[in-house]
């Protein structure tokens, strides 16, 4: 099987801040429109790894490939056509309208002097519709709640129309309804997704493959049912759990304290 446009591959990534090595040779593969989850305790290097993938951080060693091509050989415009990002912090110190924010997702597809045309507006409208924020189109972005902002940023990423999507704890500010809604949207997009996820139960129910990180290393990967065992969770998180299945066969992790 050849390399697909929606493959993401990170090979032997190493990153240091000063003397602290944050990533100690991390390798991750995401292919075939799978939903890849990255879990691990705080400070395990999840966000740093994602930043290398969406190229706001240059790894000291190793390389990231999208569709088989090294990221470093691509112009930002090209990588932005292949990979969209919903990052953690999206606090902006100014007032753009929701529509303006989403339309910015179209910019990698635009030449320098090209104006947004009817098609771009339509793509932006549909992206907002997908995340259920169409009614907010004219609102000022900064007046929205954290969860609403997060959904608008997802709409912006959708407007990029990329074969790959990177999410950094996308459900952080969301209530249960919108957590599930957002992840369902993402899962049904038919694109390759790499997402850092905090909640193990959410990770278990949405991800096809889980990568578990601790102290800058990948400690294991595989299907959720293989990875999330009582023993493994104890080694990684230092907590006791009980893993059960509900009437529909869905996995649930109960934390015992």
């Amino acid at each position: 099987m050849g390399t697909q446009i929606n493959d993401i591959e990170a090979k032997e990534i190493r990153v240091s801040y000063g003397i602290h090595e944050i990533l100690k040779g991390v390798t991750l593969e995401a292919e075939q429109k799978k939903f890849i989850g990255i879990i691990g305790p705080n400070g395990s290097g999840k966000t740093t790894l994602l930043k290398c993938i969406y190229r706001t951080l240059d790894p000291a060693q190793g390389a990231v490939y999208i569709g088989g091509e090294p990221l470093t050989s691509m112009k930002p415009r090209e990588s932005a056509k292949r990979l969209a990002v919903v990052a953690q912090h999206n606090y902006y110190n100014f007032e753009f309208s929701v529509q303006e924010v989403v339309l910015m997702g179209r910019s990698p597809h635009k030449k320098a002097l090209e104006r947004d045309n009817a098609q771009d507006y339509e793509i932006a409208r549909r992206a907002l519709q997908t995340v259920g924020m169409e009614a907010f189109s004219g609102r000022s972005f900064s007046t929205l709640s954290g969860g609403e902002q997060q959904r608008v940023i997802l709409a912006r990423a959708l407007a990029q129309q990329t074969p790959c999507l990177v999410l950094d704890e996308p459900t952080n500010h969301l209530d249960v309804t919108h957590q599930l809604q957002l992840l369902k949207i993402v899962k049904n997009l038919g694109v390759t997704v790499v997402s850092a996820i905090h909640d193990l139960n959410i990770a278990a129910s949405f991800c096809d493959i889980l990568y578990v990180m601790k102290d800058g290393r990948i400690e294991g990967h595989g299907a959720p049912a293989e990875v999330l065992t009582t023993d493994f969770i104890r080694t990684i998180y230092n907590v006791e759990t009980e893993i059960t299945r509900d009437s529909r066969g869905k996995m649930h992790i109960l934390f015992l304290s």
């Binding site: 110190n93 007032e95 303006e100 997702g105 990698p108 635009k110 320098a112």
Partner: protein
């Protein structure tokens, strides 16, 4: 959504057209104000003659009335237009570059660099080889040197970012003002000190067509270039990281913008000294109405800034009898209260609250 877009676009185009009309009116009307007692009929006779060469107005082809209108007042209005436009656009751009609503065109230390240049020229005669307008030339050199120094320093030890630019600008700025004070202190020359003070307050007086021919094209070209860059300018407000994920590496464009706006501000300083506040308040006032999108902000700021400075100059000419108020003083006196009013009237973020 589509309908709203059409409405928004037509409102924007109408606003542009209205402001453009207002600008033409302002230039023509401002020429009628001044200390010399010239009737409105005479003023426009000169215009009609100079532009259309109508025989009937031939008596206005030369003489004192012609000179006052065509060689003093009209170029002055055009200078106000150019400088107001340039400073406002550069203000909007600087606010985007450093992501800070307090930024103005002089944030890179340009004004104190220019003052240092002017001080050295006035007090020590530096640059007198440049001929008649050597003070302006030396100020221009000072302005460019400081802004390049600031950009260079901000790029040392890693990529420049908003905070580094502001801090480097402040540092260079205080060095320059310390040095110009030192020069003044050593010189003990009252006349020169007075001249320096007057220069820093800014003035549109004593301009010539030869200056306008240089400055106006530069400001127009700069405005059009920045207007065409609206995408990158919008991106700047999202920050470098987000911009990369949206396909724009801001590092290089930022340096280009800094250089271009330094040139524009440098020429503004060369012609008119350091006129403060225009570049700060005009983009803010426009943003409150048009929103943050630079596609609208840049052209509207250019027009509003031009109109504002033309009328500010008119006010300076008529407020004091037989004398002129320095325009820098007037702009600050009028601008600051307006600014405060705008600020408290609306719940104010960095841009137009809606």
């Amino acid at each position: 959504m589509k309908k709203r877009k059409i409405i928004q676009t037509s409102v924007f185009l109408t606003a542009l057209a209205v402001l453009l009309g207002l600008l033409v009116f302002s230039v023509l009307a401002s020429v009628a104000f001044g200390n010399a007692d010239i009737s409105i009929r005479e003023v426009y006779s000169v215009f009609l003659y100079e532009i259309f060469h109508i025989k009937r107005f031939e008596e206005f082809a030369s003489g004192p009335v012609h000179d006052v209108v065509w060689l003093i007042r009209f170029p002055r209005a055009m200078l106000g237009l150019s400088v107001g436009m340039g400073l406002s656009v550069c203000g909007a751009v600087m606010q985007a570059i450093v992501k800070n609503p307090l930024a103005d065109p002089y944030i890179l230390g340009i004004s104190s660099g220019a003052s240092l240049g002017a001080t050295m020229a006035i007090v020590l005669g530096v640059g007198s080889v440049f001929g008649g307008h050597f003070v302006g030339v030396t100020a221009f050199i000072g302005a460019m040197t400081t802004s390049f120094a600031v950009v260079f320093i901000a790029n040392m030890g890693g990529r420049a970012n908003a905070a580094k630019l502001i801090l480097a600008g402040m540092a260079i700025s205080s060095v320059c003002s310390a040095m110009s004070n030192f020069v003044l202190y050593l010189a003990h020359n009252k006349g020169a000190t007075e001249e320096v003070v007057q220069w820093t307050m800014g003035s549109l007086a004593n301009t010539k067509w030869s200056e306008i021919q240089v400055v106006l094209p530069i400001m127009l070209a700069g405005t059009v270039i920045f207007w065409s860059q609206f995408r990158s300018l919008n991106m700047m407000l999202l920050g470098d990281e987000t911009a990369i994920t949206l396909g724009t590496d801001l590092h290089r464009v930022r340096t280009v913008y800094l250089i271009l706006s330094s040139v524009m501000v440098g020429f503004a300083v060369y012609c008119a000294g350091t006129i403060g506040f225009v570049g700060l308040i005009v983009p803010h006032a426009v943003r409150m109405i048009s929103g943050t999108d630079h596609k609208k902000l840049i052209p509207l700021s250019a027009l509003v800034g031009a109109i504002f400075l033309i009328w500010a100059d008119v006010a300076c000419r008529v407020i004091l009898e037989n004398s002129e108020m320095p325009i820098g003083i007037f702009v600050s006196v009028i601008g600051a209260p307006c600014f405060i009013y705008l600020m408290v009237r609306r719940s104010y973020g960095f841009g137009g609250a809606r």
